[in-house]
């Protein structure tokens, strides 16, 4: 990237790249597997293709569950679902949160205070609890209701962060300078405020992506997430619970998948932030 090449001394480039690459590889692996699961799977995820609770073998790479279904097939589908939930929840959370946050930042004192207080109350509720409430209010548990629920739960934090960051940018001289040269507020939001709050927001989004993936697993574990036959990692963990000592792979495999995706996204975000924020390169 030419930006980085101009502004970054070579010495620091190496360390940053390591973070970026480690994150990109972990996330990339899940993306590839998730996409692959759309066109090819080793087995039908719902067919009984082997003995019960088999260990790892050439036929079943991470064994089978207590009904004899292939676990690797379920892991692949789990990747797809986790990515969908992460992207969907963060996108919904960002859309609602950034809009509310900007509104609060520009609002009159009275409206701003009201919004800020509401957000603080929302944030005081555990994310999972809000998500469970939203899921409970929808008619049937589905992947979509889980995504929307998590998105709404995440949006309060995004809104509060956006509000504070935007307020900090709003008092800067370059905003006044843009105003004196006749810039409209919409334009100022688009070219000054959003780019300046983006580095911080994006790191938050990555953290929330990880949170959303884990929260979805928790919802599925509790039976509130994607209903069968969707193989969510959370449901795999729940099903493996009773046999964790006889067939540990059934719990370890989805556990590793979950953690590797959450870590990967965080590393990727960290690496990317260092690249997109030009002022960091000289510090």
């Amino acid at each position: 990237m030419s930006t980085a090449a101009v502004t970054t001394p070579p010495r620091r480039q190496g360390k940053k790249s390591l973070t970026l690459w480690a994150g990109a590889i972990l996330v990339g692996l899940h993306v590839v597997v998730g996409l692959l699961s759309l066109v090819w799977l080793p087995y039908d995820p719902n067919a009984f293709t082997g003995g019960r609770l088999e260990g790892a073998s050439l036929l079943h790479w991470v064994g089978t569950d207590r009904l004899g279904r292939d676990l690797f097939t379920q892991l692949m589908i789990g990747s797809r679902i986790a990515l969908f939930v992460g992207v969907g929840a963060v996108a919904i959370g960002a859309a609602i949160g950034v809009t509310l946050g900007l509104l609060a930042a520009f609002a009159s004192k009275w409206l701003d205070d009201a919004l800020a207080a509401t957000l603080d109350i929302l944030i005081a509720f555990p994310t999972l609890l809000i998500a469970m409430l939203v899921v409970a209010m929808s008619d049937t548990a589905s992947l979509w209701s889980a995504v929307v629920a998590l998105g709404i739960a995440l949006s309060a934090i995004v809104a509060r962060l956006t509000r504070i960051l935007a307020k900090r940018v709003l008092v800067m001289d370059y905003i006044t300078a843009a105003r004196t040269s006749g810039s409209s507020w919409l334009k100022i939001v688009a070219i000054h405020i959003l780019p300046n709050i983006w580095p911080t927001l994006s790191v938050n989004f990555a953290l929330q992506f990880g949170l959303a993936v884990i929260a979805e697993a928790s919802l599925s574990y509790l039976g509130l997430g994607a209903p069968p036959p969707n193989a969510s990692w959370g449901r795999m963990l729940q099903e493996a619970q009773g046999t964790v000592f006889t067939a540990p792979l059934g719990a370890i495999a989805p556990g590793i998948a979950l953690v590797s995706l959450a870590i990967g996204v965080n590393l990727l975000a960290d690496g990317l932030r260092e690249r997109i924020d030009p002022t960091r390169s000289t510090r």
Binding site: Y174, T176, A177, R179, S181, G182, S183, H192, T279, T282
Partner: protein
């Protein structure tokens, strides 16, 4: 000829506290006026009031007519048409007046494109680029093509202020408001920036409202001065007569302070 900026009985207050009271002055096209006073005397507030950009919580009374348009009490969208057309501004601290995450060339292109659009002959692509480089050349920046791609933190203080001046010039304003444009710079850079402002204002026949606490700087740059103290006008008149025969104690003390500093710098008692 009607005045470009006509301020009559301007009073700015925050709640019950009066920050500027009954300030009046006019500025004709091509004229250069200095607004002098110590920190907190209301100089910058006056310039913000002139562009209708007073911070929330402050209120203005009186009359500010900019380019035949009453600013006080007008809708923001009405005044916004004057900003970047009739008036542009240069700020004190060039680092914070530039967006840290935007290349400086783009920051100059922004007001340039807006002014062109308002004039009904949009500038885009290569033509816009060319205009940006020409402007950077005008403010005497070396290697405009390379500097246009730099971020503010990669430039020196003087270079940043030149960029800020280029941004103001991009608006082709009738009135340039310079709010302590040299205060944050070292003495040699100050002289360069003052020379540059002086040349550009003359070349383009802009009116200049120069805000400063620094008397020598003002004396060489403007024709008339208004001396403010705690929001009250204490003296006003042509720069030569005010400095030669100050009628008010405050002006005298300002002048004496400036002379003491001069003597100290030159090693005299």
């Amino acid at each position: 000829m009607s005045a470009l900026l006509d301020i009559q009985n301007l009073t700015i207050s925050a709640g019950d506290t009066t920050l500027v009271s009954n300030l009046s002055f006019t500025l004709a096209k091509g004229e250069r006026l200095g607004l002098i006073g110590e920190s907190g005397s209301g100089k910058s507030l006056t310039s913000l009031a002139a562009t209708g950009l007073l911070p929330a919580g402050l209120s203005a009374d009186g009359s500010v007519i900019l380019d035949d348009q009453q600013v006080i009490g007008s809708k923001d969208s009405t005044i916004n048409r004057l900003r970047g057309t009739a008036v542009a501004m240069v700020f004190q601290e060039p680092l914070t007046a530039l967006d840290p995450l935007m290349r400086v060339g783009k920051q100059v292109a922004e007001p340039l494109a807006r002014r062109a659009r308002r004039d009904g002959r949009p500038l885009t692509g290569a033509a816009l680029n060319q205009a940006v480089l020409a402007l950077l050349d005008d403010v005497a920046l070396p290697e405009p093509a390379r500097l246009a791609r730099a971020y503010p933190h990669e430039l020196s203080g003087g270079q940043r202020q030149r960029i800020a001046i280029a941004m103001a010039l991009a608006c082709q304003p009738d009135l340039l408001i310079a709010d302590e444009p040299t205060t944050a710079l070292d003495v040699t850079t100050q002289a360069e920036i003052l020379g540059l402002l002086d040349r550009l204002v003359r070349e383009r026949n802009m009116a200049l409202l120069f805000i400063s606490h620094d008397l020598p700087v003002v004396a060489n740059t403007v024709e008339r001065v208004v001396v403010l103290r705690q929001g009250i006008t204490v003296e006003t008149g042509p720069v030569a007569s005010v400095f030669a025969n100050p009628r008010h104690d405050y002006t005298r003390s300002l002048l004496a302070a400036a002379q003491r500093l001069d003597h100290a710098l030159e090693g005299k008692p």
